[in-house]
Amino acid sequence: EAGVTQFPSHSVIEKGQTVTLRCDPISGHDNLYWYRRVMGKEIKFLLHFVKESKQDESGMPNNRFLAERTGGTYSTLKVQPAELEDSGVYFCASSHVGQSSGANVLTFGAGSRLTVL
């Protein structure tokens, strides 16, 4: 089974530019989450999709961040315009819905490291 894949693995951009991160979840996982780890601190929740619908976007820091999941498959997270404080590692995770023992277990991608100069 293919895991969660994220692209790019590392992006270096200048303040004011735009970056789009992509996440391909495990096939069949309806839940897709975006998290962010900044400066070695805890992994913070950004938002949660169930299929193509945003279930919870309470963690999105501001309107410079836009997440989409068209068709309920892959997701993108766009930062526009990027600021210095947006630097960090952005993780995507997916899980399947249900009551089985594996439900709600997050499978993470390797992360996309964003550096804003």
């Binding site: 969660v4 989450y33 998290y35 601190k41 805890e42 992994i43 913070k44 929740f45 949660h48 279930q55 919870d56 309470s58 993780f91 995770a93 023992s101 709600n104 277990v105 997050l106 499978t107 993470f108 991608g109 390797a110 992360g111």
Partner: protein, 109 residues
């Protein structure tokens, strides 16, 4: 607001020296408590899920336990390959996972 506090922040052990990592939590309604392992440059990897106080899970040298306020990850006779950052997370009934800062474990041969 759900909160997770992990201690210690860093732990250095000699190979074979057993110890425990702590995860204290407050959550509006606990659906599950999860332990993950994270190696440098990789995403967190699932270890255990605990659902109710008194529950225990074991995997090789690791054993996770759960009370109503905290969870422990016991490491028995660790090896250098157990070196990693261990993350604790609580899942609420609202469906949101809240993570702690993690404990970075270093096991010296």
């Amino acid at each position: 607001e759900d909160q997770v506090t992990q201690s210690p922040e860093a732990l250095r052990l000699q190979e074979g020296e057993s110890s425990s990592l702590n995860c204290s939590y407050t959550v509006s309604g606990l659906r599950g408590l999860f332990w993950y392992r994270q190696d440098p440059g990789k995403g967190p990897e699932f270890l255990f899920t605990l659902y109710s106080a008194g529950e225990e899970k074991e995997k090789e040298r690791l054993k996770a336990t759960l009370t109503k306020k905290e969870s422990f990850l016991h490491i028995t006779a660790p090896k250098p390959e157990d070196s990693a950052t261990y993350l604790c997370a609580v899942l609420s009934y609202a469906g949101k996972s809240t993570f702690g800062d993690g404990t970075t474990l270093t096991v010296k041969p």
